[in-house]
């Protein structure tokens, strides 16, 4: 008798390996992926009852290949009916059992799959869904629960993603050298998207969603193992570890948000911080610097302060200046302005924020109002701060953020009395 979590963990580890083996043999991503999902479902039931077979990977490949054989027979029969004159290869030739069932897994299968699932022809939502299913080994129902949509919606998203991959003619191979960096950037974006989806979730009914951070970290670890020399892969993993370490302190039991400066730092996960900090320190010493590494370094500086007042803001400010140099965007400027305010005073921070007033990318964004409010409050402009907190509360589409921003505005109203 094997427990459910053990079986599930094993199945999820094996998913990319089994899919990789099938793809190398048959090459049709959409059909192979369906066949693997069916094999996984069969295994989830049988292995719990009868125990895990001696060679679980071979078992899954055999079952999935059998399913694939059936599908190809149906397909080729249909094609023969459609074009009776065409001489096609007999089905047995297509589906002769392969000899690779017991070959060791190819290390690069996971990598090839990540590139395939994060193909630029797919929308971000589809990239996320397909990555979680084909590489993460999650069932459609689990992904649907995490993203709070009906299972049918998620099933369609996955099916559409597979069609797009087919239409784009994408192959199960590593992208050519000249495209590799751009394609890897998309893979990292997708993993970070999965992470943030989970990290933003608070408590209660959202807990399913929080598992996405664990999943994103697992995938980032796999990727880091495959590409140990890539500084940005290591940077993203470190950033996830250092951010996720604060998760126990970032919400109260009622789901309300606690800002970084007010978090109970004793609740932070010291092991995750130690691992993330060591990883980013080692990476920065050897790799070409990039945005994930710099964000990880900033997170490490925050995490290493035992009290908010001990935060090394000059160091954080220097890192934001570097970050603006490699990846300037308005959200970076917002955070940069906070660091400026902490080092040179709120008015200097507000001066930097003023440069964003004309930036269309942030027009009407609640974060610009929220950061302005915070800096105005620091500067003692209570009325101005209250107005901007209220504007931010109106603009956010997040309930806990709205609750937090309204509470800040109310607190200032009470002070003004």
């Amino acid at each position: 008798m094997t427990t459910e979590p053990e079986v599930e963990e094993l199945l999820r580890q094996l998913t990319p390996q089994v899919l990789g083996a099938l793809l190398r043999r048959y090459g049709q991503f959409d059909l192979c992926e369906d066949a693997v999902q069916e094999a996984l479902l069969a295994a989830a039931v049988q292995w719990q009852e009868k125990g895990v077979p001696e060679r679980p990977r071979g078992w899954l490949i055999t079952v999935a290949a059998r399913r694939m054989t059936d599908q190809l027979r149906v397909e080729s029969a249909r094609r023969r009916r459609e074009q009776a004159a065409a001489a096609l290869s007999p089905p047995d030739e297509l589906v002769a059992p392969g000899s690779d069932v017991d070959l060791p897994p190819d290390r690069d299968d996971t990598l090839r799959l990540l590139f395939l699932c994060c193909h630029p022809a797919l929308s971000p939502a589809s990239q996320v869904a397909l990555t979680l299913r084909a590489v993460g080994g999650l069932a459609t129902a689990q992904i649907a629960r995490a993203f709070l949509v009906p299972e049918a919606t998620m099933a369609q998203r996955i099916s559409r993603a597979k069609q797009s991959i087919k239409a784009a003619g994408a192959r199960f191979s590593l992208p050519p050298e000249e495209e590799r960096a751009d394609r890897l950037r998309v893979v990292l974006q997708v993993l970070y998207l999965i992470f943030n989806e989970g990290y933003a979730a608070s408590s209660g009914p959202d807990l399913q969603r929080a598992d996405l951070t664990t999943e994103a970290i697992r995938l980032a670890r796999d990727l880091h193992r495959l590409l140990p020399d890539d500084g940005e892969v290591a940077g993203l993993l470190a950033l996830m570890l250092l951010t996720d370490a604060r998760r126990p302190a970032r919400t109260l039991p009622d789901g309300s948000l606690v800002p970084l400066a007010e978090q109970d730092r004793r609740l932070w996960d010291a092991d995750a911080i130690a691992e993330g900090a060591a990883l980013i320190t080692e990476t920065l010493s050897r790799a070409a610097v990039g945005p994930y590494q710099l964000q990880a370094a900033i997170a490490a500086v925050h995490d290493e302060a035992a009290h908010a007042e001990e935060t090394d803001w000059p160091q954080i400010l220097a890192l934001y200046q570097l970050l603006e140099g490699v990846a300037a965007n308005p959200i970076v400027t917002l955070n940069h302005a906070v660091a400026v305010a902490m080092v040179r005073g709120p008015l200097a921070g507000l001066d930097l924020l003023a440069t964003l007033d004309t930036d269309d990318r942030l027009a009407g964004h609640h974060r610009l109002d929220a950061v302005s409010a915070h800096l105005l409050e620091m500067a003692g402009d209570t009325a101005g701060a209250r107005e901007r907190y209220r504007a931010a509360a109106r603009r956010t589409t997040s309930l806990p953020e709205q609750r937090y921003l309204e509470a800040r505005a109310a607190r200032l109203r009470n002070q003004a009395r």
Binding site: S126, T153, Y199, S202, V258, T397, S398, L399
Partner: protein, 118 residues
């Protein structure tokens, strides 16, 4: 990002349309729904019964009063509500655009239970 697309129309004006025009508009809606279901962007759709079936609740003088029909003299009433899940607001607007034939359409984000600390 989840949005609702709220489609308001005037029942009297709708009933006055020629049958072919009604069929054409319904086809536009149904084709779009098929497309959204297939792309995995449609979360849910609510088609509202005729406004004549509405019970409006109000509390004009302390006591709640229930009346038949939509509130006040409104000419346009909510006809259907689509819940969609899309990557960007631009996509939500693109989806809503063909629905504006003989209707007023609102696109509004849904509140999310998740959020980032500041």
């Amino acid at each position: 990002m989840k949005y609702v697309v709220l489609i308001y129309s005037n029942p009297a004006a709708w009933r006055a349309l020629p049958a072919e025009e009604v069929d054409r508009v319904i086809k536009v809606h149904n084709d779009l729904l098929d497309e959204l279901a297939e792309s995995g962007e449609l979360v849910n759709i609510y088609r509202l019964a005729d406004a004549a079936n509405t019970k409006t609740l109000a509390r004009p003088n302390e006591l709640p009063v229930v009346t038949d029909g939509p509130f006040g003299e409104s000419k346009e009433v909510l006809a259907s509500l689509w819940e969609i899940d899309v990557d960007r607001v631009e996509r939500a607007i693109e989806i809503a655009e063909p629905l504006t034939q003989h209707a007023t359409v609102e696109v509004r984000p849904l509140m999310d239970a998740a959020g980032m600390e500041m």
